[in-house]
């Protein structure tokens, strides 16, 4: 085996492993479809791992505020996540009126939010573990780091 083939093999392995790790928490999907003529259609599919990374981009002051508010609710978020993962799929909340339809459902390992109003339809799908992990990260601290690591049960 030539050195070039070995480097190529190692690179492919590294990329594959990195990809598998990044995708291990599932994918976040956001779709926004405007109903106005010529309106925008936004579609984002990203590894859920980016949620905590996104949180890093938020101004520190805001993060501190959110962190303080989230901290007491972390055990609740963790308990709810664990239990929801065990529950069968189904709608959790549905709000309908003449102008708007909102549905929050558990589908597989994700929480799916659908909003359909007069101006647009929005579809958001967030893996439950990733959402809980992002909350833990936002709440910050070494404790959160220790208690909820990616790919590990929360």
């Amino acid at each position: 085996m030539t050195p070039n083939v070995a480097i190529l093999g190692a690179s492919v392995t590294l990329v594959t492993m990195t990809g598998a790790f990044v995708c291990s928490m599932g994918m976040v999907q956001v779709k926004v479809q405007s109903k106005s003529p010529g309106g925008e259609h936004i579609r984002v599919i990203a590894p859920a791992m980016v949620l905590p990374v996104g949180a890093m981009l938020v101004p520190k002051e805001k993060v501190r505020e959110v962190s303080r508010q989230l901290q007491p609710w972390l055990p609740t978020i963790r308990a709810a996540t664990e239990e929801l993962l065990r529950c069968p799929d189904g709608p959790l909340v549905q709000v309908d009126n003449r102008h708007e339809h909102v549905k929050i459902a558990k589908v597989g390992n994700a929480l799916v939010i659908d909003v359909d109003d007069q101006t647009e339809t929005v579809h958001v799908s967030v893996p439950l573990r990733a959402a809980a992990y992002a909350c833990s990260r936002l709440a910050g601290g070494a404790q959160a780091e220790h208690e909820a690591t990616p790919g590990q049960p929360i």
């Binding site: 609740t76 308990a79 664990e82 239990e83 929801l84 909340v93 009126n97």
Partner: protein
């Protein structure tokens, strides 16, 4: 070897079925507002979720699955003694309070505590014949006695919601609360379906 394998399969199936049964109870809330612009809200929560989440909440009035109630609210009536007396008695209507604006009935029927509150328009009630008056709102509450006991199992000034939920999960389909008035209807019930109808 084959026998052991089958035993393992059966054991796994029984355990899974047991877990599924425990997670099978759902509490549903349905609110329907009247009128063209009225909203329709449906909430479906697994009882097991409520059971796991409640103890983790440390809020002002809700802590460790127990709700603190204003002491004065429970001071006036010894609810525990009252329920104890009713629980061991025969099925019957035990309390009936009629006033110009409302009727309150408390009864026991088939192991359930039944509370019915009807609110009237006093003017309407005076002019109409008994039984003909239109009510503004009607509240029906139907709670199994063991659930009520569990609810009152904490300190005098608290309601043990967590204990009540645990007991409630032993019941099949129960309509807990229905409220109907001119503007909306509300229904809270427990069953084994994960969707509200």
């Amino acid at each position: 070897m084959r026998r052991n394998l089958w035993a393992l399969v059966v054991l796994a199936w029984v355990s899974t079925a047991g877990l599924a049964a425990a997670a099978d109870r759902w509490v549903h809330v349905k609110v329907i507002e009247a009128g063209e612009d009225g909203e329709r809200v449906r909430i479906n929560i697994p009882l097991s979720l409520a059971e796991k989440v409640l103890p983790t909440i440390k809020a002002d009035k809700l802590r460790d699955g127990k709700i603190k109630v204003d002491e004065h609210t429970l001071d006036r009536v010894d609810l525990r003694a009252l329920l104890e007396a009713v629980r061991d008695a025969q099925d019957n209507e035990y309390v009936r309070v009629e006033s110009s604006h409302e009727d309150i009935r408390v009864a026991k029927s088939g192991g359930f505590l039944l509370i019915k509150v009807q609110d009237f328009d006093p003017a309407n009630r005076k002019t109409s014949q008994p039984g003909e008056h239109k009510h503004h709102s009607t509240v029906n509450i139907k709670v199994p006695f063991p659930v009520v006991n569990a609810l009152l199992s904490g300190e005098k000034d608290e309601l043990n919601v967590l204990a009540a939920i645990r007991v409630l999960s032993d019941y099949q389909d129960v309509d807990l609360v229905t409220v109907s008035d001119d503007s909306s209807t509300v229904r809270v019930w427990v069953d084994s379906r994960n969707v509200a109808d």
